[in-house]
Amino acid sequence: MAAPGYPGWVTRWVSGQWRNKKRPPALRPPRPLALADKVANRREQPTEATCITEMSVMMACWKQNDFNDAPCAEEIRMFYDCVAKAEKERKNQNEDTLSSRGNLPSSKVNKLLRRFPQITRYV
């Protein structure tokens, strides 16, 4: 919508509401308009499952070959490689860097913010 220039009927309707006491609550006392030193606690979304494509390829191969392992050796090897890679990735990831989704968990963010708090007054 266009910024503060509202059409005439909107302003008249809003002031009518105000006269009927449907006004927005006035802030008493007003909090300082500055960012707080903490973030709300957010439930961390679970990461996605790894190696699903390899697994489905392997299962398709099994279905064709009556669950024998000999004809499916290549797919099984690829699945094992994928699993090993995912395991290494999980072990090596450092939680202080961004996770795969690009978000930090709220506890880590709060720790960082506590180290660099908002300056409320100058001394």
């Binding site: 790894t50 699903i52 697994m55 489905s56 099994w62 669950f67 024998n68 699945f79």
Partner: protein, 215 residues
Amino acid sequence: RIMPVRWSRYNPSYLEPEVKKESYQKPLEELTEEEREQMELKAVRPIKAAPPTLSSSVFSDPMISKFTNMMMKSGNKVLARSLMSQTLESIKRKQLEKYHKAPENEKETIECNPYVIFHQALKNCQPIIGLSNITRGGKTYQVPVPLTDNRKRFLAMKWLITECRENKHRRTMMPEKLSQELLLAFNNEGPVIKKKHVLHKMAEANRAYAHFRWW
């Protein structure tokens, strides 16, 4: 006063003992840089005591020892070890019988080494994915999940042992039944392989739930 300690944890600076004789017989020049550093580290750091199951003999095999330990009941290692050696002996006997009865062209295909048969049978019995219970919204689902190597080995050995303990005639001895099962597993037949296939089929049926995993 000596305090009996159930669990003991070594200081993290203690290193694992190296038991293999071959690693000490290599002349100095053949070692790579990392191995030289490792040797120098070993000269300075303390080393943990070697556990009694770790041996440097050519006849010892970690998989066989693990299997014997799993077969052992109430600490009777002597009995478990004798059963294991009788099993290997009976495998060898059966294979030799087959070997001498076979025609000339088939003689090379018959495997006589019981250790090779044991390892191949265990490898054939190992499942590739397992199922784990994951609860979502009150309901528990069986989700297909990749297994670690240790878990696969454990499941293969456990299935073999339970199969041999339960599904046999009252008078068959354990070594005989075990050798039978191992030979069947070596040829990808038998009830243990069937159990593995059943597990794979269940995982395949539940593949829609694979996204419930978070690792």
